[in-house]
C-alpha cells in the first residue's frame, strides 16, 4: 500500500481539528476495487489523527472474511491489511449482524476482531459521525 501513503500534504491548516470519520463498506472484495481503495483512504485518515470507524454491512462483510487466497485470480490479497489497522490505532470495526447472518457467517469467520452490532445500533453509530464516506 505504499502508493496510498504518498502525497500527504498538510499545507493547509487542519491541525488540531479531530472529526469522526465513518467508512461504510457495502461491496464484496475483488469483483470491484472499492474495498481496496477504501482501505487506502482509511489508512490516510488515520495518518491525519482523525477518529476513524469502519462499518461492514451488506456484501461488505465479505471483505473481512478469513482464508482469502487470490493467487488463482492473479490479484493481490489485501485482506491482511485489515489486521494491520490496529497498528494505526484503528480499532473500531463494526459488522452489521443481519448482513453477517444472512450470508451464513459468524464472528469467528473474520480475519480481525470486529464488533457485531444490530442495524439499530449501526444506525445510532451513523448518527454520531461527522463525515461518512461510502464506496
Amino acid at each position: 500500500m505504499s502508493e496510498a501513503t504518498g502525497g500527504i500534504e498538510m499545507e493547509e491548516d487542519s491541525s488540531g481539528k479531530i472529526k469522526k470519520f465513518l467508512y461504510v463498506n457495502r461491496k464484496a472484495p475483488y469483483g470491484t476495487i472499492y474495498a481496496l481503495e477504501s482501505l487506502e483512504v482509511v489508512l490516510i485518515t488515520a495518518a491525519f489523527d482523525q477518529d476513524v470507524s469502519l462499518a461492514f454491512i451488506d456484501d461488505g462483510v465479505y471483505q473481512v472474511v478469513k482464508g482469502q487466497h487470490t493467487k488463482g485470480i492473479d490479484v493481490k490479497n489485501f485482506s491482511p491489511t485489515y489486521r494491520a489497522l490496529e497498528g494505526y490505532d484503528i480499532e473500531k470495526l463494526y459488522v452489521e449482524k443481519e448482513s453477517m447472518e444472512t450470508r451464513g457467517l459468524k464472528e469467528s469467520d473474520f480475519i480481525v476482531p470486529v464488533k457485531v452490532i444490530s442495524a439499530q445500533e449501526m444506525g445510532d453509530l451513523m448518527l454520531t459521525q461527522d463525515v461518512i464516506l461510502s464506496f
Binding site: 502525497g7 487542519s14 472529526k19 483512504v41 463525515v131
Partner: protein
C-alpha cells in the same frame, strides 16, 4: 453559507455520478455556498483527461469541471494512486486539475461543513 467538499468516484459518461456532482456543485454556488474542493477518486480520476472528446452534440464533462473550477476557485484534485493505475498523469491531465494524495480528501472532510459523495 456553507463550505462543501465533493467526492466523485466514477468516470464521465459511463455513470451519472459526475453529472449529478456537477449540477449539485453549480446549484450550491448559485445559492451562495462555497465548494472548496472536488476530489476525484476511483474511476473519478478519468474526469480530468484533456484527451476527452465527446460527440459534438453532447455535454463536455471534463471541460465543464475545468470551467466551474476556474470561475469559482474550486480546487480540482485527482488522487495520484488511483490515477496512476488508470493511466492519468500530468501528460494527459487537463489544465486546471492537479494530481495529489488522498490526504487532500481527508482534509476536505475535516475542513468542509459537508462532504458529499457521488459514485456507483
Amino acid at each position: 453559507m456553507m463550505k462543501f467538499g465533493i467526492l466523485v468516484n466514477e468516470g464521465p459518461y459511463t455513470h451519472q455520478a459526475s453529472d449529478t456532482a456537477y449540477l449539485f456543485a453549480k446549484a450550491a454556488i448559485e445559492k451562495g455556498h462555497k465548494i472548496h474542493r472536488v476530489f476525484f477518486y476511483h474511476d473519478g480520476v478519468y474526469n480530468s483527461s484533456r484527451l476527452t472528446e465527446p460527440p459534438t452534440d453532447d455535454r463536455h464533462i471534463v471541460n465543464r469541471w475545468q470551467k466551474l473550477g476556474k470561475d469559482h476557485h474550486i480546487d480540482l484534485v485527482v488522487c495520484v494512486a488511483a490515477a496512476l493505475r488508470r493511466g492519468i498523469k500530468d501528460e494527459n491531465l487537463l489544465e486546471g486539475f492537479r494530481i495529489s494524495g488522498l490526504g487532500q480528501l481527508v482534509e476536505s472532510g475535516i475542513q468542509s461543513d459537508r462532504l458529499v459523495v457521488f459514485g456507483d
